[in-house]
């Protein structure tokens, strides 16, 4: 799919992405900006698919549009209403127009230079799979998984993935630390709309099943820990919406689930140090099993991490009755 020549559809898609971004930045009402952001996320996912990167498209759809979108919508509908009357132009600061124009022009120049260099490089390299693709495909026999992207993420460049997971972990820590003690939340399914509760009861197991499928599909097709974690976060947030989610007495369980993923990754990394003399080295015999185990625990941790961020941001704003 990524080898097709650039067609009319791709040009239109690119223009639509730019238009979506512009709408998201210049919308007058916050809800309009959030909806434009969601549409932009969907368009980006389609764009990534057209570029032949279905894993990134999955991650964009699940995390960028799904979880981040849920956070934005939650912030806009439950936060304080905008103080400005809707007729006023947002950002009516003198000189704001000129500043926006200059930074926009600079961004366009940089983007154009970057794209031009990329196209020139691609044209010069020819059609054969060169660069890193050839190297990765040549080493797939020791990777332990069949999908090249999973091999890169969890074997060849697993250090980067480990750091990403730790960054997510630190973000969760900072959100929960700055928003204070978890306030007791009273899940009362009886007070919620019956349709909503029924829907969440039916859908949450389905979503958990989908998350498990996406996780194990990552070994030979697009999928993996981050996408699966995002779907799992969706399931937990849905349960929380129905009042069936993690409550104050699940605090310890949540903390264990948060830690177990990065901890397992660190154990495997240290095990590589002990067994092979190199941090994060994976013995080809054990690679497949270790990758699956680490990915499973990572998916659990990522799902719980995203849910905790959502819950903490929601609780932080609920004013005491």
């Amino acid at each position: 799919m990524g080898d097709d020549p650039v067609g009319l559809l791709d040009v239109l898609l690119g223009l639509a992405v730019v238009a979506g971004a512009a709408t998201a930045l210049t919308a007058r009402r916050r809800m309009g900006a959030v909806v434009s952001f969601l549409v932009l996320g969907v368009l980006l996912a389609v764009l990534w698919s057209r570029l032949g990167a279905p894993d990134v498209a999955l991650a964009e759809a699940a995390i960028g549009t799904g979880v981040t979108g849920a956070l934005f919508v939650d912030a806009v509908t439950r936060g304080p209403p905008a103080a400005r009357p809707p007729g006023a132009v947002p950002g009516a600061v003198p000189g704001a127009g000129a500043r926006a124009g200059v930074s926009g022009a600079l961004a366009a120049v940089l983007l154009g230079a970057g794209l031009g260099t990329a196209f020139a490089g691609a044209a010069g390299a020819g059609a054969a799979p060169g660069g890193l693709t050839g190297q990765v495909l040549g080493r797939m026999d020791v990777a332990g998984v069949e999908h090249p992207v999973s091999a890169v993420l969890l074997n060849f460049r697993s250090y980067d993935t480990l750091l990403e997971v730790v960054v997510l972990f630190v973000a969760v820590l900072s959100v929960t630390a700055t928003l204070g003690e978890e306030r007791p939340r009273h899940p009362a399914p009886a007070a919620r709309a019956a349709t909503l509760v029924w829907f969440c009861r039916v859908m949450a197991p389905v979503l958990v099943l989908v998350a498990a499928w996406v996780l194990f599909a990552g070994s030979d097709r697009p999928g993996g820990a981050f996408q699966s974690g995002a779907v799992l976060a969706g399931a937990l947030i849905l349960m929380d919406t129905a009042g069936l989610g993690p409550g104050p007495d699940h605090g310890r369980l949540l903390r264990v689930a948060l830690v177990v993923g990065p901890a397992a990754f660190l154990v495997v990394a240290a095990g590589g140090l002990v067994a092979e003399g190199e941090w994060l080295a994976l013995d080809p015999v054990w690679a497949g099993g270790l990758i699956v185990a680490v990915e499973t625990l990572l998916a659990l941790s990522i799902g719980v991490a995203l849910t905790v961020v959502f819950l903490a941001l929601g609780r932080g704003r609920v004013s005491p009755p």
Partner: protein
Amino acid sequence: MTAGLLLELLSAVLVVAGTGFFTVGTLGLVRLPDLRTRLHALTKADNLGLGLVVLGLVLQAGSAGAAAKLLVVWFLAMPASAVVAHLMSRGGGLSAAGSAADGPGTPGEGGSGGG
């Protein structure tokens, strides 16, 4: 006309019909006056449009497994959109006593519904 060509033609017709329904639904969203009429247009037209697009793609799916997954997408999207439309038409609150008068942005409604 071979069977393969006929199948592709049928698939293309279904997908185009599906996108036609989506366009009509979007037209309804843009042109209709208030929330409930817009929800009416969106849920009906978009669900049918999604169904037609999925059916068109099922005809082109490589295997029974892929076809089943496409159908699962449609069967999951329908109750999701129905429930969301139902909740939105009750005023956007999550509580059982969702009043019709309040909009989704009222802090009090959101606070009691979410807390």
